[in-house]
Symmetry: C2
Subunit: 336 residues, 2 copies
C-alpha cells in the first residue's frame, strides 16, 4: 500500500473555473448557480490524468484536495469564499465516491484575509463528519503574497486547531496563488510558505503544549528546511529551545515532493523517517520528463525507493504507515 499524501484536482473540468469567474463577477454576493459537471466528465479528467499516473507509478491511494492555486483566499468576500470552498469540497467528495479505493478527501478552508476562522471551523466539521474527509489545507498567507495576516501560531487560529484536535485531522500547510509579482507561485511562493510556517512553529513551542496532538504536514519537502537543517538546529539551540527532534517532531511532518534524487536523499538523511510522508503533488507544478532519468520529475516514488537512507521497514513507514498515523481517518480503508 502506497499512500500519496499530496494531490490536487488540477485536471478539473474547465466548468469549475468558469463557475468561479462568474461568481467573482457577482461583486461580493453569493452566486448560487449549480455546478454542471457530470460524473463522466469527472471520470474522464481523472482517468487520463491522476488515475493513469497512479497506475503507471504503482501508487494506491491519493489524499486529494481542491487545486491549491485556485483557493484564492484573497479573492472575493468571505461569503464567496465559503461558497467556493463548499463547491470545491463537494466536487472532491464526488471524486472520492466515484473512486473510493483511489482517493480520500482533504478539504479547502474558507479563509479570508483579516477574518476570523469560524467559517473554516464550520466547513472542516462538515467535510469530516458529513463527507468523510481526512484532513484540510491551511493557507499561512490568505493575502496571496503580501503576508498581512498573523503567524499560524497566533491565537487567531486556535478555534480551528481546537476543532482539528477534536476531529483528529491534520492540516497540510499550503499557500494558494500569488497576486504579488515578486513571487512566482510554484517557484517561490509555495516554498517560501513552507519555510515560513516551519520557522513560525519553531519559534512558538507553546502551540504544541496547548495542542499536543495537533499535526501539520509541510509540503514540498519542507520548503528550504531540510536543506538548512543545521541552521534550524542551530537557531533552536541559540534561542534556548529543545532540539528539533524533541520539540517539533511529534507535530510537524514533511512530504517528499522534491523532484530529484539528491533532494530526497538529503531529506531522508536529515529528517527522522517518522516525520516523512510520501507525496508527489502529481499532477502539479512540474509536468515534464527529466531527460537525465527518462521519468517524470514528479515521480517521487522512484527517489524514495532509491534513497540509501531508508531501510525497507522505514521506507514502508514513509510510503504508508506514517500517513495512517498522521491521518487517522484513513485507517478504516487501509488495512495493509
Amino acid at each position: 500500500m502506497i499512500i500519496d499524501c499530496h494531490g490536487h484536482f488540477t485536471t478539473v473540468p474547465k466548468t469549475l473555473h468558469e463557475w468561479r469567474r462568474r461568481q467573482l463577477e457577482h461583486t461580493g454576493a453569493v452566486y448560487g448557480a449549480p455546478l454542471a459537471i457530470s460524473d463522466d466528465e469527472l471520470r474522464e479528467s481523472l482517468e487520463s490524468g491522476q488515475l493513469k499516473a497512479q497506475r503507471e507509478r504503482g501508487l494506491d491511494l491519493t489524499l486529494f484536495s481542491p487545486i491549491a492555486g485556485q483557493m484564492g483566499h484573497h479573492l472575493g468576500t468571505l461569503e464567496q469564499g465559503i461558497e467556493w470552498a463548499r463547491v470545491c469540497n463537494d466536487l472532491i467528495h464526488r471524486v472520492v465516491q466515484l473512486y473510493p479505493q483511489n482517493f480520500a478527501g482533504v478539504c479547502q478552508l474558507p479563509q479570508s484575509p483579516g477574518k476570523d476562522v469560524s467559517a473554516c471551523v464550520t466547513e472542516l466539521e462538515r467535510c469530516v463528519k458529513e463527507l468523510g474527509f481526512v484532513g484540510c489545507n491551511l493557507n499561512p498567507d490568505p493575502s496571496g503574497g503580501y503576508w498581512t495576516d498573523t503567524p499560524l501560531t497566533d491565537r487567531h487560529y486556535y478555534p480551528l486547531y481546537e476543532k482539528m484536535v477534536e476531529l483528529d485531522v491534520p492540516a497540510m500547510i499550503h499557500v494558494s496563488s500569488s497576486c504579488n509579482p515578486c513571487f512566482h507561485h510554484v517557484g517561490a511562493h509555495y516554498l517560501n510558505g513552507d519555510t515560513t510556517a516551519f520557522m513560525q512553529f519553531l519559534l512558538a513551542p507553546q502551540l504544541f503544549k496547548d495542542f499536543p496532538t495537533l499535526r501539520f504536514i509541510i509540503p514540498h519537502g519542507g520548503g528550504a528546511v531540510p536543506y538548512h537543517w543545521g541552521r534550524y538546529r542551530g537557531l533552536a539551540q541559540d534561542l534556548g529551545f529543545k532540539v528539533l527532534e524533541e520539540s517539533l517532531m511529534n507535530n510537524v511532518f514533511f512530504d517528499t515532493c522534491v523532484y530529484h534524487q539528491s533532494g530526497v536523499n538529503l531529506l531522508t538523511e536529515v529528517v527522522p523517517h517518522k516525520n516523512i510522508l510520501f507525496g508527489s503533488e502529481m499532477i502539479g507544478a512540474v509536468k515534464g520528463i527529466d531527460p537525465r532519468t527518462g521519468h517524470h520529475y514528479d515521480d517521487t516514488k522512484r527517489y524514495v525507493s532509491a534513497t540509501p537512507h531508508l531501510c525497507d521497514e522505514h521506507r514502508h513507514d514513509v510510503f504508508c504507515n506514517n500517513a495512517l498515523h498522521v491521518y487517522p481517518g484513513l485507517k478504516y480503508r487501509c488495512q495493509d
Copy 2:
C-alpha cells in the same frame, strides 16, 4: 588562499546602533552627527570576533559588508537611508584600511521602498571608485517583509545594473530585517529572499541578454533552490526556457552558507562547481557549536573540505578562484 565571500560587521561597537537610533528620531531629517568610534574599538570588536574565527578556521580574506539586518531600508526616509549607507560603508572602509590583508569592502545601498535607484548608483560608484570596494548588497525587498516593490528583473533596477556592469562589480542578493511578524529574519525572510530572487531571474532571461556580464551571488546556499534543483530544472523546461546551466549559470552564483554537511554535499552535488563561492556569514545567524560535530555550525570550511562531490581542483575554485572571477576587484590583492 581561502576567500569568504559573505561576512557582515555584526560585532560593530554599539555606538553605531545608537547613532542610527538617534538618526531615526530626527523624523526624516539628515542627522549630521559624527560617528565616534575609535580605531581601537574597531580592532577590539574584530580581534575577538571575525579575525579570531578567521585565524582559527584558516580563512584568509573576508568580503565584508555592513550588518544586513541593520540596513533597514524600510526605516526612515530616503535621505536618511543615504546618510546611513555612507556611515556604514565608511566604517567598513576603515576596517579594510586597518586590516587590508583580511577584509575587502562590500557596500550597503541606500534603497528605499518605492524609490528609484539613483541614490544607489551614486553610492555604489563612490564605494568602488573612492573606497576600493569590490561589490554591493542588493535587497530584493526594501519594504522589509511585505514585498511591495518590483521584482529584481524590472527595468526599475536597470540604472543600477548599468553601473554594476560599468564598474565590473557583482551584487549579493540580501534582504534586511523583517518588520513582518510572519517572517523570522534569519529563519525565514533571508531564505525566502534567496529563493524568490532566483525564481525572478529564471523567469526573465531578457535581463542577462541585456546585461551579459551582470553577476549576482545568492547567499545562504541559494535558499531553497539547490534542494529543489529538480523543480527548477523542470519549471525551466515546462516554461520553454534553456536548461538552467546554460541560461543562468554565467550570471548567478551561490555561496556555501549551509550549516551542516548534508546540505553542502547536496549543493556541491547538483550545482556546477563554477557557480559556488565559499562563504560562512560568520559571525551571523547561528553562533553555537554543533554538539554532533564539536564545531561551530557556521564553520562551513569543514563541510566544503569534506564534501565528496568536489575534486581538489574544483574545491580550490570554490575556496578562491570563483571569488576572483566574480569579484574582479579582488585580483590585485589575491595572487595565490
